[in-house]
Amino acid sequence: MRLHSNPWLRTAYARLWVRAKSIYGEPLWVAVNVGFPFFTSFSFTMVYRAYGLGSYAGFAILGGVMISFWGNVLWSMASQFNWDKQVGLFEIYITSPAPITAILVGMSLGGILGTAPSAAMVAILGWIIFAPPIHPFWPAVVLVFSLTLASLYAMGMALSSLYLAYGREADSVNEALHEPVSLISGVYFPSVGQGISPFPFAVQAAASIIPLTIGMDALRQSLGFPIPIPFIPLYTEALILALMAVILLFSSSRALRFLENKGRRTGSIAVRQR
């Protein structure tokens, strides 16, 4: 069978295309996607400089890059099915023979493709303007960056089923999650690691169940940022990220199957369009 005639691949590709096209379809969004993370990075870098910690500029720039993906996961992955349900798209998915996992994977890849240019722009601008000291080991950077995105988007898939079940207030839940998760997972400063994290060990341990926390720490290590004592060794973090991705992928697929069956029993798949 030719790959392009495989229905799973067709569905995933089509969903990827819709997601990426939607992101680039509105020029204002592209500007906002680049602007907001960059200005926040800029502010944090200024604060680091004001306290004589200019070498920490890389933390803020990396934060600006990764916050773009985190925002995409939260606003465009986790709450997507709930939004789809409100406008009648989810019932179209369910009544079609399309595999729901293909839709999720397509949505994730489209989100990554759509967010990557803005994230790259933040990285390039930050590197040109602030020139943070880095000593990267590129194979490790590529590996942990890929694993971080995989586990982050797998978490988005798992959250999408939760939002579908309990997501009447999806926007409020997103608002409530966005800043606290950014804070404890250490987007703009290391939130884990002895001698550098402002949080007690218990908070660091709790924060580690969020893929973003471990991913950010692994990226800091692989980029050679100034970290006194690593929280967890780099390749152990890579392994944890890989495990998280697999577990979250598996659980999101199971959760969606469960919710579909429950929805058919209770009548909660579709919203009456009146």
Partner: protein
């Protein structure tokens, strides 16, 4: 592929004795079959019965209407048949497949659309949206674009295909929905109020499109609607449903003929006070009545289903006795609403108010 599936059907059915009685898969003419279908929902007030032992059969190539007031159970039936909802009890099958046990097989041969839906991605063109929906069925892109063009031509959508979805008017979004409903060359299509909220001309073009789809492609189309003109115009057969029960099922013409005498229409002023029409229901020869307000003319219209001239005169006398002036009255050929009135005693509007 489907024929192969139908040929294989008896083997599949051996382990499903419950469905065997419901669906004769060897008789390929029957595409939708429902037997003793019941669906209850939990609510704060307790169990609500949306469908109460519904039986029906729809044949290949037939446009079958399910006509009833809002809340009668039409959408619930469509959702069960399109695999979005499970029955509480009873059986339902589409193209020989059981909705409960074989939803994946049904999904490959059906499509569904609601006239009220506006499902699409705003920043993608109508064409892009339709291509995306076609991919959910694994249709090769070239074939998908061919179908999009053909179906759009029939609905006058062609010159709007490259507009972004958000920029389309309600009518054109609805046309996109109807192109989507046929994009996968489905054997059976479920349409829920396909022309709701549309102007007369758009509704007419959509009805023509639906007729063509059934006649030229032999598709079975099941339409849930409360629009009697629509049922009259395009349905081969209609089931009248109220409170989850099918009250009658036949061709629109046969149902209207079954009333016998023409119905009586009165225009009265002032509007009837609440409860003032109730004595009509007790008159001999009166099968039911319904009333509406003609706001432009400031008159109320009362339609009464009577079994003859004697009953008609009694109705006029009774209305006059209750203090209303009969501005005009005439007899008219029965409509499907009057069939409903004769079966239930009240009209769609009264039923919807009762339900509310």
């Amino acid at each position: 592929m489907l024929d192969q599936r139908l040929n294989d059907a008896p083997k599949v059915r051996e382990d499903q004795p419950g469905l065997r009685n419901v669906m004769n898969r060897i008789d390929t003419e029957i595409t939708v079959q429902v037997d003793g279908l019941r669906r209850e929902f939990d609510s704060k007030e307790g169990k609500v019965t949306a469908l109460d032992g519904v039986n029906l059969q729809v044949r290949k190539g037939e446009i079958f209407g399910v006509l009833g007031p809002n809340g009668a159970g039409k959408t619930t039936m469509i959702r069960i048949l399109s695999t979005l909802l499970l029955p509480t009890s009873g059986k339902a099958g589409v193209m020989g497949f059981d909705v409960e046990k074989e939803p994946e097989k049904i999904r490959a041969v059906i499509n569904m659309a609601s006239g009220a839906e506006r499902a699409g991605y705003d920043f993608i063109s109508a064409r892009g949206n339709l291509w995306f929906f076609s991919q959910l069925y694994g249709i090769p892109s070239e074939e998908a674009h061919k179908r999009i063009n053909e179906l759009s031509d029939m609905l006058g959508l062609q010159s709007y295909l490259d507009r972004k979805f958000y920029a389309l008017s309600t009518g054109y979004k609805q046309r996109v929905t109807l192109v989507r409903a046929f994009i996968n060359d489905p054997k059976v299509v479920f349409l829920d109020e396909p022309t709701i909220g549309l102007d007369v001309m758009t509704a007419l073009s959509i009805r023509e499109y639906i007729l063509k789809q059934a006649k030229e492609h032999g598709r079975t189309i099941l339409i849930a609607t409360h629009n009697m003109a629509e049922v009259d115009a395009i349905c081969n057969r209609v089931a009248i449903i109220d409170k989850g029960k099918i009250l009658a099922c036949d061709t629109p013409a046969a149902l209207k003929r079954s009333l016998g005498a023409p119905s009586l229409v009165l225009e009265v002023s002032p509007p009837p006070a609440p409860g003032s029409l109730e004595p009509l229901g007790k008159l001999d020869g009166v099968k039911g009545y319904t009333s509406s307000v003609d706001e432009e003319r400031g008159l109320s219209r009362i339609q009464v289903v009577v079994d003859g001239d004697g009953a008609a005169q009694s109705v006029i006398d009774s209305v006059r006795k209750s203090g209303m002036t009969v501005v005009s009255n005439w007899r008219q050929q029965a409509t499907l609403e009057e069939v409903f009135v004769a079966l239930v005693g009240r009209g769609f509007r009264e039923r919807e108010h009762e339900a509310a």
